[in-house]
Subunit: 342 residues, 2 copies
């Protein structure tokens, strides 16, 4: 694609006007910490007066990278990912980086093609929020030579930001144990999703800590973690109750959509929430606070997850020459108590 | 930011291996339509075999642009914008463009700084979804020399994709007129938002077309178009009803959040929806289908809006030398009938 770029003020014109060398102008832009404060101020004021836009394309050709990073999410319309994207965008603004958004639709072929595009653009690195735990797929991405920080997944071989989902599952289960009793059930997604495994482990740990047998935890596993699936599980609970089994005093769901479905399914059949059955969700999406019966749920620091990932990526890129050690920032979730499980 | 780029296969190596000139390799990548099919196939197979990644940074230095476009949205966590972003991302994948996501938070200063960043990156153009109708602000963005396509706003001076909100307001009002009567009320956002004005105009046009007086339309204007604001308006309606005024048979809301609030406020006080009051929303967000009483609403082709905007931007950039005429793609909304207003 071609266009005629507008006439531009060059580095040399700025240097001449400020009475410094072009190297000093360049340093003011790229390594301000090595330029004397007074000089820096003079150069910046000339840059502003002349409306100089640094040509980072030329700079990137020299260094091999752009001030660009990629963000690969499975589905930008999912509020969990759009909150992360908001944190990423804010941190990138602060660092004056551009964020290339890639919506992978959790399709490995599309994801690989997007990472290739990022490599073509000489992106400095990429943030990836993977769904499935395919280590081979992640290794393939890394082999493209791009710095990679994983979000919401601990990386074996790189930096990552994640949420302690074991702690989150434990918090939710402890809340039901202390307010209701030990007969709550777990409504969970596929065990192929590491977060679902972790949240379940946390719930089991809470039972163990209370001197109970974790294997007694009844679990309903759904394939799609949707409101409809929640309604479906509520129907199963009601059918069992009609056959004489007692309703559980609590339901722990591993996302908010499931919890809203459970509440809808139960209340439509005259079961009162939280009086008869308390329901806890996970995620604290906007729908949780906004639900007809506002949802007790586990809050995840989504914005912080995205924001911290950008900072880690920048640290990794900057630190490459001076030696860099991979690390993981693990954020702790917290319990938000609302009407569905007071 | 610096890194050591991985060793790369060059254009020359591909040309040698395929037995063609480097110009032919370049044309295969950039103007495939002028390369013979057999030659193109041979070059592409060598590119694949050698794992050649074209250095678009070098290409962009020659042409002055990157295969990058910007997308500026007010808030990526708002589902209206994230659906648009999904359409943009899909169209960009097809065109092998990178999309730089800018979350402006509707802050003119931040937005301008982001557009400057896009100019620094030599982005080929930008898609902007503006909230407020500040023509000066848009002119300023255009003055940065970036091709600009507006989304969800007709541009006076450029290309745009938009939704016919007058038609949408008319559809919703016609539905209430034909199923309920002429006593429906309008719950609307600020008149500073062009879409709110347009949806109101459509509702008034429907009244006129039915031989009624548009000035008789009762309108509640809220400052924030939230579920809470909807609950607040429901309270006003209930208070008026207690004082002896009849409840309206229908409520037309200019977004889905307001409609969900109206329904919640009414049903919590024993008013049945849709039996006593029918409620229509606008937007068809995920929350509409997923609501306890699924929402009749006006569907907006959000994904198409984003997808078409990328194609317009590419056409504008490509057509610059050969002469380009600005245009607007106006999409027609449609009515989705669900339980809240059958």
């Amino acid at each position: 694609m071609e266009r005629n770029p507008p006439p531009r003020v060059g580095l040399a014109a700025v240097a001449r006007e400020a009475g410094v060398s072009t190297a000093t102008v360049s340093n003011t832009l790229n390594r301000p910490e090595i330029v004397a404060a007074a000089t820096r101020a003079r150069v910046l004021s000339v840059i502003e007066r002349l409306d100089f836009v640094p040509n980072t394309t030329a700079a990137s050709l020299r260094t091999g990278t752009n001030r660009l990073i990629g963000l690969v999410v499975p589905d930008i319309t999912n509020p969990f990912y759009s909150e992360i994207a908001k944190g990423v965008a804010a941190a990138a603004d602060e660092q004056r980086l551009g964020v290339i958004l890639c919506n992978s639709q959790d399709d490995p072929v599309r994801e690989l093609s997007q990472l290739e595009m990022l490599a073509e653009q000489r992106a400095a690195g990429a943030l990836v929020v993977p769904i499935t735990a395919d280590a081979k797929r992640l290794a393939r991405l890394r082999s493209l030579g791009t710095h990679l920080v994983l979000i919401d997944r601990e990386a074996d071989d790189g930096c990552s930001t994640s949420i302690d989902d074991v702690a989150g599952g434990r918090l939710a289960a402890q809340h039901l144990l202390s307010t209701r009793g030990d007969d709550f059930v777990l409504v969970n997604g596929s065990h192929a999703i590491p977060q679902c495994i972790d949240r379940r482990s946390g719930a089991r740990a809470a039972l163990s800590a209370a001197g109970l047998e974790p294997d007694d935890l009844v679990e309903y596993e759904v394939t799609e973690m949707t409101t409809e699936a929640g309604v479906g599980v509520a129907r199963l609970l009601l059918t069992a109750a009609e056959a004489g089994a007692p309703l559980p005093s609590g339901v722990l769901c591993t996302n908010d959509q499931l919890a809203i479905g459970i509440i809808r399914g139960l209340t439509q059949h005259g079961v009162s929430v939280p009086e008869q059955v308390a329901v806890v969700g996970y995620g604290d999406l906007a729908i949780a606070a906004d639900a007809p019966i506002p949802l007790t749920t586990v809050e995840q620091p989504k914005y912080a997850l995205g924001h911290a990932a950008v900072e880690m990526l920048v640290a990794e890129i900057r630190g490459e020459q001076s030696g860099h050690r991979h690390s993981t920032s693990v954020f702790r979730p917290s319990l938000v108590v609302r009407d569905s499980a007071p």
